[in-house]
Symmetry: C2
Subunit: 418 residues, 2 copies
């Protein structure tokens, strides 16, 4: 088994001029990494003959696999197909099967096919035609001197389907790929360096064929375990054993694995227990409600949300006492506790969550600087509150509050709902 | 004046393996495009000596300007600095000014500087030291045979500050850049091809030195006018005249210019008129409230938001009649009108906005398929409602509803609030 190296080439002026962000190359990197192919370079070039041919030439010297996106539109500024034909020294001819596929695509949509669209079914003779079921530009697969090439359209969902349906299966045929097994442990409520400190002994004792990576994002840290070997089942078992070993050290921070998000995780907790939730968001302004409602089926457990952006609404609807507001202010432990209890009662839910803070950039004081946020969770027979000291950035404060509130619910739920 | 060509090189294994998305190169592309520098290639390579040196070598043959991000950390796997020294054939020596800056950075944060951090103040003798005020890795500027190089850390906000404070001013010194003037016209509520159709005669009559680009995003289309010439003031006047020419054709879709967003635009309308707003979001689940509250100072005009995710809350809190819900259902013109009127009254606001729809993936019926959304705006003496027929995708439906509701407020405000 030798290492397979890959290069990704993205083609299009719009990528160079910053009109469109190339998210394709990033996604392809992740997919190739997951099957043990080593990406050694990513290149973006414009719709320019010399630049594209140079990129082909250079890539072929370094990589066993070259994945190309873009430049396959029907208009004259799209050069990828003629230049691939030129590079491989072959003609472009009509491929009846490909023309029929383009025609069928338009028929399904009740639209007329133009002369230019018919040309999308003309392909270099030296390529294997790869049908694109969700668009008009076909995929093209080339093989030359042990190097494999795939050209795909730049439209993300078309490219992704071609990679998943054709490229990845093909790679395991033409290459002797390592067997790799990945597992993500999802954590919230702890920073990367603290997490690393908690698990350093476990990490140092990992066997050589299991690697650990820390993937931090706002409020979250993902731990990625990657195992290399001969047999996927064996690797899965080994990784699971390692996870059993580390869990006791970090269990209170772990909300799920792989595709799980904090929103889907708390959704499952609530749904399985048949419990409902209500939100009173002040400084987070509806963001937590938005996170929860992005999950299909969230109406099963979310009763609703109130954003009482002004104190009179906190009093009148949530029943926060004016004495509390006068004495402690809207951003205080007392207020946020009354908000959580109030929304639970008002909406007839099992759990009430609340946030109140100074998101910024204005509204801070020496006592309560920008970034001061109180959050609370009220359950059947408890209220827990927590103080967050966040940043100077309004958007980051809103997002971090969202993660912290959902995580507080998770922790309270596990603690009190046994 | 000759064309300045640039290449952007991003360095780091984490970029190739898909652990981090390279947003830096995209941002740099936009900044260079805005000053008339033509980006001809973007390259990403790993922390590998040969690959980095090859990238330097290749780029120097094609570009007048080479911007490098990443690989400047204090640890041994970060190779950019030693390889730049090797490429330019010079030594790395201590730069007292740079060491002092790193030291001051740590002092400000009350943290201890390590031996590795001190090395960040050691730089190649052939570079100009460029202070990094918001991080520990300095910028390095090189000049060789008419080609200019800048190496910057990969942390986005550090890189951005160096580009804005140093690189862009430097470019106008060392290159004879074209004078360019950009203006963005921001529209909502109309698709790209309809917009293009409305303004095609105007577009065809644009003078040669003024270019138009359509930049579509979810629910929005930006029109970017770019003028090339000798004098920025003259260009600005010419572009403004063109905008005066096109506005009568599209005025009802235009919500602002340049940095304006739909959220800030409606915020200004409300604030200037001294009016307040309340939201009742069902299918949008808090997303519109989140959009509005991302704007600093939004508490001046947003009274608050209710997400009545269940019908009983629509009845009890908003006063939607049970007869309406029974007869027409929650997703109906009648319900959404009562929601908008109800929230306006409940929260004591001047305007009430409401959404109710089937975001999906479940809940659709032949009568009301997934993507059916009703929205309404209630003002002092009117209620306007609108039906949206959106997509199969839950997230896209939520986002498009957000844009449509904010745009409905804008239109109603302009129509009724004269």
């Amino acid at each position: 088994m030798s290492i397979v190296t890959a290069e990704i080439i993205a083609i299009g002026d719009e990528l160079l001029y910053g009109q469109i962000m190339d998210t394709n190359s990033h996604w392809i990197s992740q997919e190739l990494d997951a099957v043990g192919v080593r990406v050694v370079r990513k290149t973006t070039v414009g719709d320019n003959r010399t630049d594209i041919l140079t990129a082909f030439e250079e890539a072929s010297k370094r990589a066993n696999l070259i994945l190309i996106t873009g430049g396959l539109g029907p208009t004259q500024d799209d050069l990828t197909k003629p230049l691939l034909a030129e590079y491989f020294g072959c003609e472009i001819v009509e491929v009846p099967e490909a023309v029929a596929a383009v025609s069928a695509y338009f028929t399904r949509r009740g639209r007329e096919m133009t002369r230019l669209n018919i040309l999308q079914g003309h392909l270099p003779t030296c390529c294997t035609y790869v049908p694109n079921e969700v668009g008009t530009a076909p995929g093209m697969w080339f093989e030359q001197k042990g190097c494999y090439w795939m050209s795909m359209p730049g439209v993300p969902h078309e490219m992704k389907k071609l990679v998943k349906d054709f490229v990845l299966p093909k790679l395991s045929q033409v290459f002797d790929l390592p067997v790799i097994y990945h597992k993500l442990i999802k954590t919230a409520g702890i920073g990367e360096s603290w997490l690393a400190d908690l698990i350093k002994d476990w990490e140092n004792a990992l066997p050589n064929h299991i690697r650990l990576a820390y993937l931090p994002s706002l409020g979250h840290v993902k731990l990625r375990l990657t195992a290399f070997g001969e047999d996927k089942k064996v690797l899965a078992t080994e990784v699971d054993e390692q996870i059993h070993g580390v869990l006791p050290l970090i269990s209170s921070y772990v909300y799920g694995y792989d595709e799980e998000t904090l929103e889907t995780a708390i959704g499952k907790l609530l749904k399985n227990a048949g419990k409902t939730l209500a939100l009173a968001e002040s400084c987070s302004g509806g963001y937590i409600s938005h996170l929860i409602t992005t999950v299909p089926g969230s109406s099963n457990y979310l009763r609703g949300t109130l954003v009482p952006y002004h104190n009179d609404l906190k009093e009148q609807l949530l029943g926060v006492s004016s004495a509390t507001l006068m004495q402690h202010g809207a951003v205080s432990e007392e207020t946020v506790r009354e908000m959580a209890t109030g929304i639970k009662k008002l909406f007839g839910a099992d759990f009430g969550l609340a946030s109140s803070g100074i998101a910024g950039p204005d509204g801070g004081s020496p006592d309560k600087p920008v970034g001061t946020v109180w959050i609370a969770c009220a359950g059947p027979d408890f209220v827990e509150a927590k103080l967050l000291q966040l940043t100077q950035d309004r958007m980051i404060n809103i997002q971090l509050t969202g993660v912290a509130v959902l995580n507080l619910l998770r922790i309270c739920f596990l603690k009190h709902n046994k």
